[in-house]
Subunit: 333 residues, 4 copies
């Protein structure tokens, strides 16, 4: 019941159940006259798509985006942009046994508590599949912020950790969004093993934003960090967000923090200062384990596929704040 | 420019600069007929007030709440409740030297980037003083949730850490909201030393909610955890939130997580399941250090005073979702 | 740029240009478990469809609704309901000459002022065709209000006027939504003549709502009459709304008004009192006249087709306020 | 319960019951750096104040505005502006007999239906006194639109009608906002007689806006005319709004309407075209008649005092749409 929209001026509304006819998104508040490149959009969707790598779910989804409104002769009209993706590979039968069983850690039980009725064939709206609509939203948000660069990557999976932060946004993120060959190889091997054993893994994703405009975010409830937090914690398995190394930084004395402006991670008083913005995100291991997981139609680890979704959500947050700030630009001295 | 409201049905709007005439809050969406106890409200404000303990700022603020609307003969009217608190102890002169200097880690510089104009006498809206308005909002939110119990406490300050989680909500939180005598004494000594040296400290606050209604939160963007995240990261020095032990839990295998439903921390699919909700929050050390800090009108550590604010924000989030869910209760089978 | 949503808890978002791929609607905030009857929905769409009567545009639109989300096994899921209708009969070529000409009284010129870019093939979002999405929204809104009856009808076209108010909601509204045979025949003849001459006509639509719940509407900005006014004036050619006989009633002395509670038209202080709600709506004659109108693909008068749209908007307003009020029902004494 | 805010970017929230401690308003979304002239604000309040003319209520209200936040050294800070006005002349005893009687046409009965509890001493939030908060909001909205001129006036009271539209905005509106000496004198005499007899009167107010920016309003639900309609119908006794001469224009053939662009009243497709905007508003006679009215503490006709409120609401609508449009100005070709 409601809660399917995000943003105020740049407003993304997603719809569609994982096993319904189609998923999609409406983007309301898009400026007119911006050039839409369907290939770029498809590329973003492919980054999130399942079945792109052996460590992922074996489900193949042919996620073909169809633009229903808001674009005319390759340019945005300023009217709501609607993009849908048909569900073509639902195989509902696979899920039939789930009809009366609630998977722990999923929305199954709480959906019944809340609505008293559900589509038992899958996660419904709570499914990770919903995030493809966010990736579409993120593509359009990015058009509003041509100078900003968004770069997310896996920092840690289980006990495997990057040895250092990537030098810049041009560093290749390899096959599964880990920007270090050694760790990437190790994690691929580890996840293959997980898949065989019916085990699952979680970890930490980092996001770096460079070229952010200054002055984004509002001083009280709509701080930039607060809207990032809402955006990220709205992702299915996300169980934590920090500004920079938040939980470690919190333990350091003020004298040490103030030595380096990097510790503010691009935001002071909740408002962007133009420096690099850094967020860290914790994602838990998928709850589907054991025999069900072995069946192969689930990811043993969602982090590789969540990276483009994290970037999309960050773009949506910043596009919204960019427009909110732009409304006042003519009043600046 | 905007962003001073939180919530949809239960909607809190705060106003007032730290050195202006008054701070206050409007609570729109309050049910009618609920009994208001002004003493209880004052008690909550006192928990947040400065000058209550030697380790705090020496500023004394006589935070006297005045109810301007929405309450009649001791009961809520269902109309917007407005409560103001006059600023009586601003001593603006103390801040005069700050006119042209921007304190690092504060909103000073970014406020100028954003607005081109500011009240240099203090943090303005970004000041921690704004949070007293949230405490007032939280008091009224609590009236909507009589069966839920909110209990926040300090888990860690710098290197000092609780040895175990408090058994239940009846455990005394001592002088500075640390529910363990030994740690409390150590932290008091440590913070006194910080004060003398012009040093500051941060740490981790934990929040436990018991007796939560089920079905709160929406399955996509307005997940309960997402709205908690926005609420908490909107607090001035908050630089991280996790659901339960999010960043540690993220590193554990799925098989281990699924062993204990406590690992879901009261929410599945972003919706409350009625079990204990647990959040962890990282707060950084105040940026004011050195000679300015020694002057004594700043807290060396905000955690003791942030505890009631964390509870207030949680109450506001849950009251809002409670009403949102109640709108549909008549349709439940 | 934005503004494509209506409602707070029951929230309708429409999308699609008149000459784009498809039009559609997302309904967010629908309760779960309600039975959806696709035939009923199609019947409502047919009431609005062009080409149903000789006095209408000769354009035929095969408005086939496709439900993409939110309904499972014939029942609402509580998730966003998305319904699209493909555009099949655009004949863009007809509109090619309009590329550089702005039709007076249309949004052509103001769209360029606002966006600097437009789809010249038709009215885009400002087209009357957008209202089919509202009719779909209204169908679902009606499911929330099973006891309320909505009955709109034409009261006046040009100089032709009903001799009396229809006795009740069971009175047949004839071929073109005029509940009086004589006037209906006269108007049909008059509009046929208009069509031949390239002339157009406007008039007055009345709406009666019976069985309204009490207590709907909020006492200040969101008065029920205010939200009706916004809903109705958001219709393309609507240039006036009154509560009951507003403009005539305004000229009468208070002593006369207070004689009959019918003069309050079902709302006191902006809140429904359970009695019959009556609204009057002024629609202007279409701006397309002369040779363009003679070409036959425009309505000489939109009132016959606007009647179901008026009912739909009223249902949407009331469903939203119904849910808003329901959120507080458990607190009522 | 809720509904006390108006506007999206320029957002006005009013609070306060007619017989509570204070009334007031928060204006969120104000640009920074604009000069505030307290005398101008007081002048606007005085135009709305009771007791300014013999034909008004004999209640005198010393409406002294106090700015609590958002203004520093005479300039707006970009933070929420809060202004309160204390209630000093409530004389609640006058209303004691009303405790258990519901005045027809007032919100008394519907308030009980909705909330089950009320402040019987007056109209509460539904009181006309709430509109002083709107006048304050309108003053600040006006600062955003320095080039637009808002001019409302009484066009008709009962059977007394202006002989012609005032030539321009410089025409004096006389003692009671009637810009024609003859009609003004007649109405003053008529209303004095009403007062003596315990009778009341309604009528029509016209609003002219010159110098409107172009491109204000959104093409679908948030048409400029739709937001004007919501704003105006949210006024206590307003029972109708038309764009220009809506109800009369609706009866004219399209060929006649299209002869003069004035018939579009400054809006095409719901978006401002830069020409004069004209609205007409119907206000009903106050429901308080007979002996209660003779007691003298009620207005026999609210139109003279409603004129500045109508202007204020129009300014609020336009300031909001101005900022919404400004958010996109950098994308215009």
């Amino acid at each position: 019941m409601s809660g399917n929209s995000f943003g105020q001026l740049f407003r993304v509304t997603t719809f569609g159940e994982s096993h319904g006819e189609a998923l999609g998104v409406i983007i309301d508040g898009m400026p007119a006259g911006l050039t839409v490149n369907l290939d770029d959009l498809k590329k973003e969707l492919l980054r999130r798509a399942p079945g792109q790598h052996a460590v992922h779910t074996s489900r193949k989804e042919d996620d073909v985006p169809e633009i229903l409104s808001g674009v005319f002769e390759g340019k945005t009209l300023g009217t709501p942009i609607t993009v849908i993706v048909r569900n073509t590979n639902q195989r509902s039968a696979d899920y039939e046994p789930l009809k009366d069983s609630y998977r722990p850690g999923h929305a199954d039980k709480t959906t019944m508590m809340k609505y008293g009725y559900r589509d038992h064939r899958g996660g419904g709206r709570a499914s990770g599949r919903e995030t493809l609509a966010r990736v579409i939203g993120g593509y359009f948000a990015g058009l509003i912020l041509p100078k900003a660069s968004f770069y997310a990557y896996i920092e840690q999976v289980g006990q495997f950790k990057l040895s250092s932060k990537p030098a810049d946004h041009s560093v290749s993120r390899g096959e599964i969004n880990i920007p270090e060959k050694k760790m990437s190889d190790e994690v691929i091997a580890f996840l293959s093993e997980c898949k065989t054993k019916g085990e699952s893994a979680g970890g930490i994703v980092a996001l770096s934003i460079q070229g952010s405009p200054t002055g984004l975010g509002e001083p009280v409830f709509d701080k930039l960090k607060a809207d990032f937090a809402k955006a990220m914690l709205s992702l299915p398995a996300c169980i934590g967000m920090s500004v920079g190394d938040g939980f470690e930084l919190a333990l350091k004395p003020g004298s040490e923090i103030s030595k380096d402006s990097k510790n503010f991670a691009g935001m002071e008083g909740g408002i962007s200062n133009g420096e690099e913005i850094v967020l860290k995100l914790a994602f838990k291991a998928p709850s589907t384990i054991g025999d069900k997981a072995k069946a192969g139609r689930h990811d043993p680890c969602i982090l590789p596929r969540v990276v483009p979704v994290v970037e999309a959500m960050a773009k949506i947050v910043m596009a919204d704040h960019y427009l909110r700030q732009a409304a006042y630009s003519s009043f600046l001295p």
